[in-house]
């Protein structure tokens, strides 16, 4: 979050108000953007890690579902990567153009300070160590952010582009990335809550990251060695403007190339592969409705094949009309079952009749059982009057078969 190097160590104090500029506007903006993107990443990432927990599910639901949660997480990740690119270029600018000392580098002195403070906590020393521009507390946090961002970016890439990753590395790297991404996330959030919140908000609300300034009193307490350096006049001087401009001219071309390369890297990072974005696994591929040919119903009545060349069938004949009429009306009993011995299934059987006599007597309706029984009425499968009249006429006319 903080720069690893700063122009001149805390530019000269404003005599009137006795404040010391600690962070310039770009550093404060960097911090703000990072603060927002980190928070969003944590809020959308941890629920994914603990998706089966009630709170995790509730949060994902609040974000509008898992796909939306991932989208938000990805966008916040892109923002964080952009800030990181800006930070890299800005740090290089301070080192190369402004020749700022590398005040964020951990030194042996920092370990001494830690031991000193431990001694102080156990009452072996009267006061805390004299911190310089950045104490070991801040250095640990800065380095944790650098380390964390790097791990998150690399493991994030592997999860974002698993096919490309597996084309080079073992496939196991992808679930391993997921494990590391989650572990690192928990570590980062806990560090922020415990370390950062304590030192910057609880112990003393240090507003310099938003106002950019520290008071003299704050300097005395938190960065006494730096204050001493400034006041003794041995702080590194800001280079002359013409010198800065000369270095800027040298710095600019490689910086532009670096920035473009890094931005292109982010672009590739985000768009490297799309293979799993839109594909939907195939469903059952075979046809669903493929009936087995049903067992034929056991009683298909063979329909007589018309013999070619024979006379056309008259509509007023057994074949032309009455066979179907009897089958429909009488077939249930007087078909193959031949209740009472009478079958009206075919012409010969009809003529032959049953127990009560011949069914049809050609030219003599009165002698035909079909007519006598039907005329009496109330027979099951009763013909209508019209149908009966037709039958009588047909028999009277000779009961033609065809």
């Amino acid at each position: 979050m903080a720069a690893s190097a700063n122009p001149a160590p805390a530019p000269s104090s404003d005599e009137g108000s006795e404040t010391y500029t600690r962070f310039d506007l770009s550093q404060r903006l960097e911090h703000l953007i990072m603060l927002v993107s980190f928070t969003i990443l944590a809020l959308t990432g941890l629920p994914q890690m603990f998706a089966t927990s009630t709170i995790g599910e509730w949060m994902i639901r609040s974000f509008g579902g898992i796909e939306m949660t991932r989208q938000i997480h990805h966008i916040a990740a892109i923002v964080l990567m952009l800030v990181s690119v800006f930070h890299i270029v800005a740090v290089l600018y301070r080192i190369i153009v402004l020749r700022s000392p590398l005040t964020m580098l951990p030194l042996l002195e920092d370990f001494k300070h830690l031991l000193h403070d431990l001694a102080y906590y156990f009452n072996l020393r009267k006061r805390k160590a004299y911190y310089g521009r950045y104490s070991y507390i801040e250095k640990v946090e800065y380095l944790a952010v650098v380390w964390g961002t790097l791990v998150m970016a690399i493991t994030g890439f592997m999860m974002w582009n698993p096919v490309a990753t597996a084309s080079i590395f073992p496939g196991q790297f992808i679930p391993a990335s997921k494990a590391a991404h989650g572990g690192e996330a928990v570590l980062a959030v806990l560090s922020i809550v415990i370390w950062h919140f304590y030192h910057v908000h609880i112990k003393h609300f240090n507003k310099s990251m938003f106002t950019g300034k520290l008071t003299r009193q704050e300097m005395e307490h938190e960065h006494p060695a730096e204050l001493n350096l400034i006041e003794s006049g041995s702080a590194p001087a800001i280079p002359k403007p013409e010198e800065i401009r000369r270095r800027q001219r040298i710095f600019l071309p490689p910086a532009v190339i670096l920035t473009i390369s890094l931005l292109f890297g982010i672009y590739k990072y985000v768009t490297f592969e799309e293979t799993s974005i839109t594909t939907i696994p195939p469903r059952e591929t075979v046809a669903v409705f493929v009936p087995i040919t049903p067992t034929p119903r056991p009683t298909p009545i063979p329909t007589p094949t018309p013999i070619p060349g024979e006379a056309a069938v008259s509509p007023n004949s057994w074949e032309g009309n009455y066979r179907d009429l009897f089958r429909n009306r009488c077939g249930t009993c007087h078909g193959f079952t031949a209740v009472g011995g009478l079958s009206l299934a075919d012409y010969q059987s009809a003529l032959q009749g049953g127990d009560s006599g011949p069914g049809i007597v050609s030219g003599d309706p009165e002698a035909s059982t079909v007519v006598t029984v039907q005329s009496a009425g109330n027979h099951p499968g009763q013909l209508t009057l019209d149908e009966l009249e037709q039958v009588i006429e047909w028999i009277a006319a000779g009961a033609a078969e065809k």
Partner: protein
């Protein structure tokens, strides 16, 4: 003449009819709780409908008895007496006329249907008389919806259960599915879904059932349900399908028999794919997701054992084919990105195991150090901020020279520190 025979039969069979009805009434008591929701018409009074099965079989027991439909097709109205008597209904003594309520009188009232299927679609309504609950469930099924869309060939009660040769499927005392029924079920569905049956037959489940009669394996109904069979092509079915598989695959007892892991569900849910599907199911159960469910990798009906040499997913090349369905550019390393239902260990997925182990120590190490330093700082600040309390302690104890030293210097650096916060 026929009338004469008929009336004589009435008098002769009156006692028989009474006996049958009494038997039915008794059977209802023993049958209570099987699958009846409504008491079948079994009032032991003589009505024109109370006709013994012998009466019906006098005609309908003669093979070849048919009646024509309006389109000329012949409806077989022959009933094989053995089929019926061996059926669950026959065994329990139900009378033909209990289902065929409109044909109790002779002569039968006129009946016509446009074709054979129309007759079936009309006559199967009789099942509702006793099996209303099953009928109602079936109304929610994919079959009923297809019927409503005009697909007349869709399954109705009698297509699966037959009309007259209805087999008992459950043990009458335990309510458990009969062992034989496990085999009948896929065969029944195969009447219309024969291509799927072919696949099922080849599967680890189907082959165990069909070749070895193993009742542990799922049949069609274990995944698709009975009567209210859902449309398996919709998103909601897909999203909940892991729960269907895990009904058996997280059952310790059943899986132990076959040496199968019961971690399959939790390892799936812990993975990217499974987490997504689980959340979709909980939050948007009708939404479509492209993340795979069990059957996208293990196949839908022709599920193979994972050690099957040709298709088993333990063979990396076989799994890769599955990966490539969604990740067409996937290469041979890619399947290892899936942990194969193993919880990471030294033996399986060691890289993941080591990463987990690292953070298991790294996180408490770092966070613990921070907590200790913060606690020490807090402790020190509390002691310097409230010097009066400390003074009291000192006067009480009269020891600890170092503390006394700091008490003696109230304007020291530490106190100024304290005043800042």
């Amino acid at each position: 003449m026929i009338f004469h025979r008929q009336s004589r039969r009435y008098t002769l069979l009156a006692a028989g009819v009474l006996f049958i009805l009494a038997f039915i009434a008794v059977s209802q008591v023993t049958l209570a709780g099987l699958s009846f929701q409504t008491e079948p018409a079994a009032t032991p009074t003589l009505s024109p409908l109370s006709i013994g099965n012998e009466t019906c079989l006098e005609c309908h027991g003669q093979p070849g008895l048919t009646m024509p439909m309006e389109n000329g097709d012949l409806l077989e109205v022959y009933v094989n007496p053995d089929d019926y008597n061996n059926s669950i209904h026959g065994e329990l003594g139900y009378a033909c006329v209990q289902c065929h309520r409109s044909v109790g009188e002779y002569p039968h009232p006129a009946y016509s249907a446009s074709d054979l299927r129309a007759a079936s679609l009309d006559l199967y309504q009789a099942c509702r008389g006793c099996h209303e609950q099953q009928y109602a469930l079936a109304q929610d099924s994919v079959h009923s919806r297809a019927l409503a869309e005009g697909k007349r060939e869709t399954a109705i009660c009698t297509d699966c259960h037959t009309a007259h040769a209805v087999r008992p499927l459950k043990d009458r005392t335990t309510g458990e599915l009969l062992v034989d029924a496990h085999v009948w079920i896929p065969q029944t569905c195969a009447q219309c879904h024969s291509a799927i049956y072919e696949k099922y037959q080849e599967s680890v489940h189907g082959s165990a059932l069909i070749e070895a009669g193993n009742p542990d394996v799922p049949t069609c109904i274990d995944c698709h349900g009975v009567h209210n069979i859902e449309d398996p092509t919709v998103a909601s079915f897909r999203l909940k399908s892991p729960q269907i598989c895990s009904k058996c695959h997280t059952d310790e007892e059943r899986m132990a028999k076959y040496g199968l892991s019961t971690d399959v569900l939790n390892t799936y849910v812990a993975d990217f794919h499974g987490t997504t599907v689980t959340l979709f199911e909980k939050i948007t159960p009708d939404a479509e997701t492209n993340k795979p469910v069990c059957y996208d990798c293990h196949s839908i009906h022709d599920i193979k054992a994972t050690d099957d040499p040709e298709r088993g997913l333990q063979v990396k090349e076989n799994l890769l084919i599955r990966c490539q369905l969604c990740h067409p550019d996937a290469t041979i390393n890619f399947p290892d990105s899936w942990l194969s239902h193993y919880i990471p260990s030294l033996e399986h997925n060691p890289v993941v195991y080591y990463v987990n182990q690292f953070y298991k120590f790294f996180i408490p190490g770092v966070v613990g150090s921070m907590v200790i330093l913060v606690a020490l700082d807090l402790n020190k600040r509390a002691r310097t901020r409230y010097p009066k309390i400390r003074k009291m302690e000192v006067t009480q104890e009269q020891v600890e020279p170092q503390q006394a030293e700091s008490v003696g210097e109230p304007a020291s650096e530490e106190d100024q520190h304290g005043s800042l916060s």
